[in-house]
Amino acid sequence: MALTVLMLMRVRNLFAVIVLFGIYSFLMATVLVALDAVDVAMTEAAVGAGVSTVLLLGALHLCKSREAKPAHRPWLPLAVALSTGLVLVYGAMGLPDFADPLSPIHAHVVPRYLQNEVQVPNVVTAVLASFRGYDTLGETTVVFTAGAGIIALLRRRKKVENDRKDRV
């Protein structure tokens, strides 16, 4: 996975970047299966590797497929990114250990979720649709807004094209 990301940084052909991003998404889905998050892994494989790749390829079809060479070496961004990383590693040292059963994340509401109150054996579905239904409502709102924005952006383009045709 690290290798894929490093290649993503170097490669300038945008088609290769998009294919690498698809590979990266599948690897991330595999890692998520290893972390017991099967629902998330399925969504990541379908949405991250499938839909995102199709969207990126569609956008690439409408744009140029080569990235220009940067005018100067990226020392400043590298320094910013690395210092952010150092601060985050320092902060991560204060977090609970990996797979620590006493960490606060396992202590609050989760034992109640696992009692099967709503008679749905898949707890993720139960929490998503029942306990935290408002989250899903908010998500739908975001997706709707994004869809409306995309339609607004691309429809305006069609109108401009029509105007151009009228003038010719």
């Binding site: 690290a2 991330m28 890692v31 998050a37 998330v40 956008a59 396992h106 989250d135 998500e139």
Partner: protein
Amino acid sequence: MLEHFSHIVTVFLLVAGLFIVIARGNLIKKLVGLSILQTSVYLLYIAPGKLLGGTAPILAPQLSVYSNPLPHVLILTAIVVGVATLALGLALAVRIREAYDTIEEDEILALDHAADAREGS
């Protein structure tokens, strides 16, 4: 150090995504970097929910230890929202390409400066 390995992987992915977003001028590449940054956040949420010896949170009578389902739910929402914002960003990039005939940040800025200078004179 080993007990924080998942955090270190997360931070590496986050730094890589951040670097691509800042350093690369191409708008599509920037969006790919943003997606990598986002996947690192998925890992940040999911990894602490794992329990050694636990299974996926699907209840069955013969199992007793389950990984934490709450982060899974939050990240399911985040993935869908992420792809929606990616689509919106790509639509913006396509529009920019229509208007400027390029998706390189430097060239867009140069064109803007040229337009400003023409208006000023």
